[in-house]
């Protein structure tokens, strides 16, 4: 039996672990461009990740099957393989973006050259992946990521027009360039629902040997953890909207993000923002590297899991190493990590239906799930979000082009 204390610790880690470079980039850019008008899109995205992470966690707890087990069982070998390749390509972009993000934050902290910091970042990440036990990784980075709460303080200190903030939670077509607005909607929803999070979450549930007894923990984790994670996203968008929009500053660099906390709170705000971003982005780099390895190992039936020592799941271990190296090779070319971030989020949206359809099918299968199969509410939410995901998947690439990547 897990104590309330350990459940609370898990939730705290989930809050800190929610935000990654995609969330930071899209929320700050959306705030700088449209003020508070897009807050509702974050709510939509958070609802989506809650719906599907809950399903994945429940499937994992009841049946022991992780996401890519379900994908292969439901889509078969051929289509399943297409889903795997799509997921891995997107994942690689995500890893590249996160490694680049880690290096940028390190550069802001140290002033050392970016490429050197890329090398240091990838070595440090590999060392953490190799040495740290699963729960530690999840917790350490999750807790340090809570430093991002400094943006909530910054948001309040910047005295936003709270009426306008409240108005932002009501879906609207927005004012300004319509294509750019729509592009940000897709980006914000996509960043919140970025697929590696559900691969990682469901595989983690199997790693921690959840059973039907853990379904309460599952629900608490996703509901409270992701909702409060969403609050971090709100804080980023609100403080960017209060500070950057009136001054016409575009948020193209992560340095601008740190400025958002520094302006109202001074040095301490700056440091907390950078430490929080470093932890959150490093954690995401680790999670996404693992996710890539989980997915391929589950698809082909290799032994997998961090709970086995490194040589106990050797192809899995080699897989995350290869992922990390390939991600590094992408950013070390000098390509702008912010560009890679946007592309990773937009293309992940395109790949989302391929993983969400099989999950919804498995979660509904009574032969598999027994009395823990989806109820009416889970299916209503699941169906709604499948529709959302299909619409944004179709719209994603055209909007990328029509909005000139959000530049208008």
């Amino acid at each position: 039996v897990k104590s309330v204390f350990s459940i609370a610790l898990g939730i705290l880690a989930a809050i800190g672990g929610f935000v990654d470079i995609g969330d930071i980039v899209f929320n700050v850019a959306a705030g700088a461009t449209f003020g508070y008008q897009l807050l509702w899109a974050v709510v939509v995205g958070v609802g989506g990740i809650i719906t599907y992470a809950e399903m994945c966690g429940r499937v994992a707890a009841v049946s022991g099957a992780a996401v890519f087990d379900a994908v292969r069982e439901r889509l078969g070998f051929g289509v399943g393989l297409i889903a795997l390749v799509a997921a891995e390509l997107v994942n690689l972009l995500t890893i590249a973006a996160e490694i680049g993000g880690v290096a940028i934050v390190l550069q802001l902290l140290s002033g050392l050259p970016y490429r050197l910091l890329l090398v240091l970042a990838v070595l440090a990440l590999a060392l953490v992946l190799w040495l740290m036990p699963f729960q530690w990784i999840e917790r350490v980075f999750g807790y340090c990521g809570l430093a991002l709460l400094v943006f909530a303080v910054a948001a309040i200190k910047l005295h936003p027009d709270w009426g306008a903030v409240a108005h932002g939670f009501v879906p609207s077509t927005g004012s300004g360039n319509g294509w750019v607005y729509a592009y940000f909607v897709v980006g914000l929803v996509g960043a919140a629902m970025i697929p590696y999070e559900v691969y990682f979450y469901s595989s983690g549930a199997v790693e921690e040997q959840w059973t039907a007894k853990d379904l309460g923990v599952n629900r608490a984790n996703v509901l409270v953890g992701y909702s409060l994670g969403g609050v971090l996203s709100f804080a980023l968008m609100i403080s960017a909207g209060a500070l950057l929009l009136p001054q016409g500053i575009q948020a193209e660099l992560l340095g601008t993000v740190a400025l958002v906390a520094e302006a109202p709170l001074g040095q301490i705000g700056l440091i907390l923002a950078l430490v929080g971003a470093l932890a959150a982005i490093s954690g995401a780099a680790i999670d996404s590297s693992f996710s890539g390895a989980y997915s391929i190992a589950q698809f082909f039936g290799w032994e997998w899991g961090k709970y086995r020592h490194n040589s106990g799941a050797p192809r899995f271990t080699l897989a995350w190493m290869v992922m990390l190296v390939l991600g590094f090779l992408i950013v070390v070319t000098g390509v702008d990590p912010i560009l890679v971030t946007e592309l990773s989020v937009i293309f992940s949206v395109v790949a989302l239906p391929l993983t969400y359809v099989p999950i919804l099918l498995v979660a509904n299968d009574r032969a598999y799930m027994g009395r823990y199969a989806n109820g009416r509410f889970a299916n209503l939410a699941g169906g709604f979000y499948l529709l959302v995901v299909f619409v944004i998947a179709v719209a994603a690439v055209p909007l990328l082009l029509l909005s000139n990547m959000g530049q208008g």
Binding site: E73, G76, R315, T317
Partner: protein, 115 residues
Amino acid sequence: MSSAFDLGLGVLDHPLVDSEGRRCGKVDDLELEGVRDGNPRVAAILTGPSAWSGRGRIGRVLAAVVRGRLVRIPWSEVDGLDSAVHLRKTAKELGLGRGDDRAAKLVERIPGSSL
């Protein structure tokens, strides 16, 4: 017959787990017998890259490229079914999990591999 069982959903593409709880492949294909005499049953599980050739165009191409092994596990070796197919013997006895065994030799050379 008790109740209908869907082999396509309930067995095909499910993970194989050996008698020691080790994950050792997937049900890549199934070998049926007695289809003509009206008494069809599963004779064996087929696993390994060569078994992909029976899985559509993509499987055929990939099987030809990888040219891996094909392991046939008689259905009598199946101990039980849940979301995985549990086997009565160890992976080693059945000739499974060789890819992981090979990769383990590589990974074990790195210090700290047993952490």
